[in-house]
Symmetry: C2
Subunit: 617 residues, 2 copies
């Protein structure tokens, strides 16, 4: 909070809309889909208008809450109280309609492109991560009901969840069931009227309780009595905090108790609740849909959605941290230029002139723009899959397959990078970056959860290697490698980018050969080697993909520069895209072949070391 | 705090004294120096007794304060109040005598080996980083007076600073002079009695105010009127918070005002004060020593000491985080074994049995033990330099030169690794690692400052490349490379370690060739390239050094295993040393040649990118 006052200019939330428009319109050519079904209500002007309006909301409504949100939630009389200003922001957010952009028109939404929604969410999330989690999870919960709900369920719940009257949560984790969801013990017992009595404890429920809405719709995984053990016996239930009466209004308590909230490293404005369902045997849930034992499968759709959402959270906070660091580096004067550093009388210069600071800033820029391109590429595949619909089954499957393949990269790489980029942002600030006078230390703390929730990054890596590589008989991976190869073939002799593309080609070979290594291990039953190398492979494949997309953006930028005056701001913008791509190719892409060698080396010390050897304590 | 109660076993501060003894006695053979001048009062038993006693202090006195220290300091009536328990711990610490272990006997200390002091400090710091900063900085300030003080100064100040009656600080940074110390504006005007009137504002003063002692001795860099600009015009002054009377007792206020304390990401129990000297023209300081304008040179000795201290802080917190993660991984059950992961009825296992968790733990173990070996190697050089004294000038210079060369590695690599190791520790914990129920998130926050204070890691990298590589005409670097080459030659055909040593040899060639690249750049006047590559080189050289020292430890361990029964706990301990070294060689050493290629690639995008290209905001 104090930084809001003390350093208003540096600390105001910022997004670079020029970059957003480049990604949407120039690199991923949203124009090709706009104005045509199912996006017939959307044109370039509409997209730009939404971006401008959301940016205004992010800077004026949501952004100013970020500092104060760090003070956290409290429990008063058994109910969570959110930080000051959250209620008003919630009202404004739902008046604005930004949160129904991605919703299908049949549920009152605007059916916007996923690429546009991603860029909108970057701003709503980046300006105040903690606040944006409440509406973000609400959309997720409503989408579950819309997708899988039985007769009348979507009608009863979705409209009020989309207009901000009610919120929603995902209740998966239990004290003894984290990554191992199948071990959950919450039970559901069918009543005579077809409803279920729910009983159990769920933890780590984001937005599990709060004072923003009159009701909270919990989507709860529970096991119906007699159902199989493991994930296959889990069903999904709709469990409102207060029961819904015949008219669809919130009524009596549904015996959902808030046991406590976590004291966390960050995202303190987002209440992470421990909830008890049915402590007094009075908690009633409806099965979501009509078929039991399909909860895990249903929740997985939500999780894929949520995983991309976490990727966007990472991008959002990384971008905000980067832009804060640039602003600080332009304002802070310290030391003389490297050209006359030995002269104590030389004028002090802004630190953005120091090579090592420029290196850190360009490193951040390349990574931020790289994960943005990765996320928008994923969303682009989704938009094309939706636009194609039934018109070309094979092409749609291609796009869907690519999104599947990229989802673990989006979730894990973006989240790991976010933390690392925030670390660099602190370093650019020096000592003041460690204080609450500037927002970067909070960004860093807030971002650490991204690598953990919605499936840890270890789980993501296993998803990539164990499921996605071999999905569709390996066709998705083959198509992906083919797409990059096509770019390499077309660009390898590019005057400016040739040397960088050569590094991309080396990375291509390394990714392809490592994928084969995994295949061999699977075939030979060397299952325990896989998790040892999976995270490294996820990083390799992410760096490779990001390197490709940055070079793709650079190629477009260099082409565009030909018709722009050198004095024009756009010329510098495009020049920045080129340098970011070349920097990444030079500094990061060499990791990929190096990592391939490490994986091929197949050191198995982590398996062989005796447990007693870790420590004698 | 809540974690102290909730998870007492996992969260109690831990150190692995078996590892400490290995490093001290088996790898760095402290026995060769014990019992001989100037360490004639020290034997193996004395060292072991001190280690045991300090561990008891760390677990029983200092460790239990760590959680509560996170609540931070407050200002009451213009004075800083430290967290509950700090005063009692201060008293116990000085009763124990641990803080005078390293002090020369002539000042009442025990003149212990630097290797032993380093391992003692690992425990005092790791058990409560914030608390340990107060006595740590006090030693530093007292050593400055002992080294450079004029007639009577050491006698007046040091005894009371060594027995805990007074504390000390270093006052360097000002609002507009951070890394650029030479730009500082604090002035000193000589009075008729030879004292100086000090006037100015200092910020980021660790322990700048507190309630632990009756007086605080500030060591203040200031410019005497008329002195040259830049660092060469700075002098060092002794400026107590309360004036010292003729009898050496604390008297009236010396016009040193606490303007405020920082709200920080971590080390909240350590008050980071903004101090105003001479607001009412009543602040009197004594020149430290008799010659003016030598303040920067004097402070640099302190900084070298402090930089190694920061390296130890990094090691200390990294080790604590690692041991917490191991304990958690042994207790937390989640998921089935990888051997029957498809069977939902398979028994749940402790997560330490999962390959990806083992990988993270072994990665942390290798890094923690690696930075410990790096730090003790540096201390070992110091002990040998001291023991040699004037008996062999050339050999002493060799040892001193190696410590000089390693100091930036110790400071920067240990601090960067600490943050990263804490991140991994959080990841091992999963969601609970993000909460205050476990100490790892605090460790992570506490550790972030290490890469910034006492010279940012960017400054350390420039110190390494710009000063240390060419120091003594390059002889220190040559000797270092020669030492590692000797190990490679002797070990390359080792039955267990041969393949790992081959990776060390590749890293050797890469470090040597990159050092030549820098030399070429200096010769060609390409100064602006240096800071672009300096941090990467520091990492390369650190990874190389750590890889060497881990393999050295592994070689010793394998030899020792020959005389140990396989069922003996020591056998597993030695086996762990072997696996840690081989893991590091396989997973980390390949970075070194890869980084050498990146540096040789000499991408200059960070220099070429126009400032306007960073962002259009």
């Amino acid at each position: 909070m104090c930084w809001v006052v003390a350093h208003a200019n540096i600390n105001r939330y910022k997004a670079d809309l020029r970059e957003t428009r480049f990604v949407l319109f120039e690199q991923f050519r949203a124009g090709e889909l706009l104005g045509k079904p199912p996006f017939e209500n959307w044109g370039v002007d509409e997209v730009n208008m939404v971006l401008d309006e959301v940016y205004r909301y992010a800077t004026e409504v949501s952004g100013p809450l970020n500092g104060i949100s760090d003070e956290g939630c409290r429990i008063v009389d058994g109910t969570v109280t959110t930080p000051p200003g959250f209620k008003e922001a919630w009202k404004k957010l739902y008046e604005s309609g930004f949160k129904s952009l991605s919703i299908e028109p049949e549920f009152g939404g605007q059916g916007a492109l996923a690429t546009v929604t991603a860029m909108v969410t970057e701003m709503t999330s980046g300006s105040c991560t903690a606040f944006d989690m409440y509406p973000g999870l609400t959309i997720g919960a409503a989408e579950l009901i819309a997708s899988f709900g039985g007769p009348g369920q979507a009608e009863r719940y979705c409209p009020k969840m989309h207009d901000g009257t009610w919120s929603g949560t995902m209740c998966i984790t239990e004290p003894h069931a984290g990554s191992d969801v199948g071990d959950s013990k919450t039970t559901a017992k069918q009543n005579d009227d077809g409803t279920y009595s729910i009983k159990g404890t769920k933890i780590f429920i984001s937005g599990g309780d709060h004072d923003l809405t009159e009701n909270i719709v919990h989507m709860v995984l529970a096991r119906i009595e007699g159902a199989p053990i493991g994930t296959k016996g889990l069903s999904l239930f709709i469990v409102p905090k207060r029961r819904i009466d015949e008219e669809g209004n919130s009524g009596d308590s549904n015996d959902v108790t808030t046991l406590g909230i976590e004291h966390k490293m960050g995202i303190n404005g987002s209440a992470t609740a421990q909830l008890s369902f049915g402590e007094n045997d009075g908690c009633i849930g409806e099965l979501c849909g009509t078929e039991p034992h399909r909860g895990m499968r249903q929740m997985f759709q939500m999780m894929n959605f949520a995983r991309i959402g976490v990727g966007i959270q990472g991008l959002a906070i990384a971008s905000a941290a980067y832009l804060s660091a640039v602003e600080y580096a332009k304002e802070r004067k310290q030391g003389a230029s490297v050209t006359n550093w030995k002269d104590p009388a030389a004028p002090r210069v802004p630190i953005i002139q120091h090579p090592n600071v420029r290196r850190m800033l360009l490193d951040m820029k390349a990574r931020v723009e790289g994960i943005r391109a990765l996320i928008v590429k994923g969303a682009w595949h989704r938009d094309h899959a939706v636009a194609i619909g039934d018109s070309d089954e094979k092409l749609r499957q291609y796009h869907e397959g690519q999104l599947e393949l990229m989802t673990p990269l989006i979730k894990a790489y973006s989240s790991d990078q976010a933390f690392s980029i925030c670390e660099t942002a602190i370093q650019v600030h020096g000592g003041v970056g460690y204080t609450a006078d500037f927002p970067v230390e909070q960004y860093c703390r807030d971002s650490k959860i991204f690598s953990i929730y919605e499936g840890t990054n270890g789980i993501q890596a296993l998803d990539l290697v164990g499921r996605k590589l071999g999905q569709a008989g390996g066709a998705n991976m083959q198509a992906f490698l083919g797409d990059v190869q096509k770019f390499i073939d077309e660009t390898k002799d590019h005057a400016d980018l040739g040397p960088a593309v050569a590094k991309l080609a080396a990375a291509h070979a390394a990714v392809a050969s490592t994928a084969m290594t995994f295949l061999t291990w699977f075939q030979e039953g060397k299952m325990d080697r896989v998790p040892l190398a999976a995270n490294r492979f996820l990083d390799m494949m992410s760096e490779f993909t990001v390197g490709w997309l940055l070079l793709d953006g650079a190629k477009i930028s260099i082409e565009k520069q030909k018709s722009v005056d050198k004095k024009d701001a756009d010329w510098a913008f495009y020049e920045g895209k080129k340098h970011a791509a070349c920097f990444f190719a030079s500094h990061v892409l060499p990791n990929v072949p190096s990592s391939a060698s490490v994986i091929a080396d197949a050191n198995s010390s982590a398996l062989e070391i005796p447990e007693a050897a870790f420590t004698t304590v």
